[in-house]
């Protein structure tokens, strides 16, 4: 909690950070209440007064972002999609960082054989074609949102682990670690009480990257048609538009989900950068 508050505090200091936090906060709120305020269900078909299906109608008061070829309300789909994006992004980022952080800490601190094995594992994961691999996993198992989250986490922790490992290897040589050891600290003491707190800035940057990546990747999966068929995501909206061959006739259908992804991910990147810019001078001052 303390870490979270300092994080907000630090990021709030720059204009870019403040705007980005607001955008991110807004998306978060929409993710929670979006489905409640959405005028229509995600796959509800809309008809006009005459009972005719509203196919590809341009934006109107009734349907501010128009309708799809199946007569679905784009705005409602967008609101449902916000929940998917946030859920996938946050859970994947969390999983990635928790796994990557611990692997990185242990590999970097103990070195030797443990490190060699862990690094071999990340090597293998680095050699995997990222997106195709996830698609195959989804094709072979079950195309649902939890599998997507698990599959992405399974591949993405490698980068965090590598970055954290490198940082731990340099922190391990710092004098305060030697000082702790001479006062009788055990390996666990040093790893989790002395080194881990110093990794936090890096972890925050890692989280933002993982978050951004997860959101984009989930959209790509949706776009390639391997998303959860029961869940609307911004990627799957674009996929529907693309698959229906109607996308070039109905920009109101294609543009909003893309912009939503772009704005959300940009805000995530800028939050990370704002945090880093404040933290970094202090890091430099110390060394």
């Amino acid at each position: 909690m303390r870490t979270f508050l300092t994080f907000i505090n630090v990021t709030w200091k720059s204009t870019g950070g403040r705007i980005s936090l607001c955008i991110f906060g807004l998306c978060l709120i929409l993710a929670v209440i979006g489905p409640m305020i959405a005028p229509f269900g995600p796959s509800e078909r809309c008809y006009d007064a005459a009972g005719k299906l509203l196919r590809l109608t341009p934006p109107s008061w009734e349907h501010p972002l128009g309708t799809t070829v199946m007569g679905r309300d784009v705005l409602s789909q967008m609101l449902w999609g916000a929940r998917t994006a946030m859920l996938v992004g946050l859970l994947t980022a969390l999983g990635t960082v928790v796994i990557g952080l611990n692997f990185g800490l242990i590999a970097g601190y103990f070195g030797g054989r443990i490190d060699a094995i862990l690094m071999r594992i990340t090597d293998i994961l680095l050699g995997l074609p990222f997106l195709p691999f996830i698609i195959v996993l989804l094709a072979l198992t079950d195309r649902n949102i939890w599998t997507i989250i698990l599959a992405m986490t399974f591949v993405m922790w490698r980068s965090t682990a590598r970055i954290v490992r490198a940082e731990v290897m340099s922190l391990r040589e710092r004098q305060f670690v030697a000082a702790a050891r001479t006062t009788g600290a055990s390996d666990a003491d040093i790893l989790y009480r002395e080194i881990a707190p110093n990794i936090m800035p890096l972890a925050v940057t890692s989280i933002t990257f993982a978050l951004a990546w997860a959101i984009i990747t989930e959209a790509s999966i949706g776009f390639l048609g391997f998303g959860d068929p029961d869940v609307v995501s911004w990627g799957s909206i674009i996929y529907d538009a693309y698959a229906s061959q109607a996308m070039y006739r109905a920009p109101w259908w294609v543009v909003p989900p893309g912009i939503a992804i772009m704005v959300l991910v940009t805000s995530v990147y800028f939050i990370g950068r704002a945090y880093e810019e404040v933290i970094n001078p202090r890091l430099q001052e110390r060394s």
């Binding site: 071999r120 094709a139 072979l140 772009m262």
Partner: protein, 323 residues
Amino acid sequence: MSSFWVRRLWQSALTLLIMLTLMFFMFRMLPGDPTATVISPALYPKAQETLRIQFGLDKPLWEQYLVYVKNLAVFDFGLSFHTGRPVADEISGRLLNTILLVFPSMIAAYALGALVGAIVGWRRGSKLEAILVFLSTALQSAPVFWLSMLAILFFSIRLDLFPIGHIVSPGMFPEENWRMYLSMDFLHHLALPFLVNTLYQFCFPFLLMRSSILATVGEDYIELAKMKGLTDRRVLYHHAMRNSLLPLATTLPMTLGWAVAGSVVIETVFSWPGLGLLMVEAVGRSDYPVVQAAFLLIAVLTVVGTLIADLLYTLLDPRIVNA
């Protein structure tokens, strides 16, 4: 050859072996049964049996594995479930198409990104810097398939400057031979996906180079270079940029492997008959010998890329001596 490189080669070979083993078993152990598509349960048991033998699926798993590895040694990736043709034939042309699309645009993006990033970082605090940083971050945040669609919408449909997709106009080169790649028609088709991909890939090297130049500006040797009376340009190009280029240049070969994997999306939008599109199609058809071969190819590319990166590093950075 020094022991460092011996060990390094060893490691790479081991990584590849583990990967191909994992992939082999992954495709056969996971719940969905890919063989179901080829050997439809609707067929007569006798016919099923024949097909099993034809694809070598009748033998125990470990034996299949040994055969697979043995065949790999002579670049035999088996037969495609979908077409029944050798996978190697299916893939080779597709790989070339992907490479023709991805490599030139990656190299262009890196060259441009590094140059612009360096100049912008050197003159830090300018308006241009702020705008470029914002734009490239936003660009990086947009899904590339969406950008491609917008590009098609605008350049191909509105302005009618480029074809909507495919590698050549239908019917122009029915036999798909090497002449195809030398035609203007091919370049015309290549232009838009190339531009979109270059623009998208530009962001990473640009942002990296900028921050790395910002970090070098405070270095003592940059200050000394200025004090030596060198012109500002010379300090930038011969000191700041040269040193910051090192990490970027060495990551490029590694990134190429990933870029091939990442081409899935852009190839889908532009119907570009490359490896990425093939993979998506093959996954959709459960044609796992093809997918497996494509994966292996990308893995080899990445591992070799990493090796080249290491090699480049030792060549470019005199400090690293693997004696």
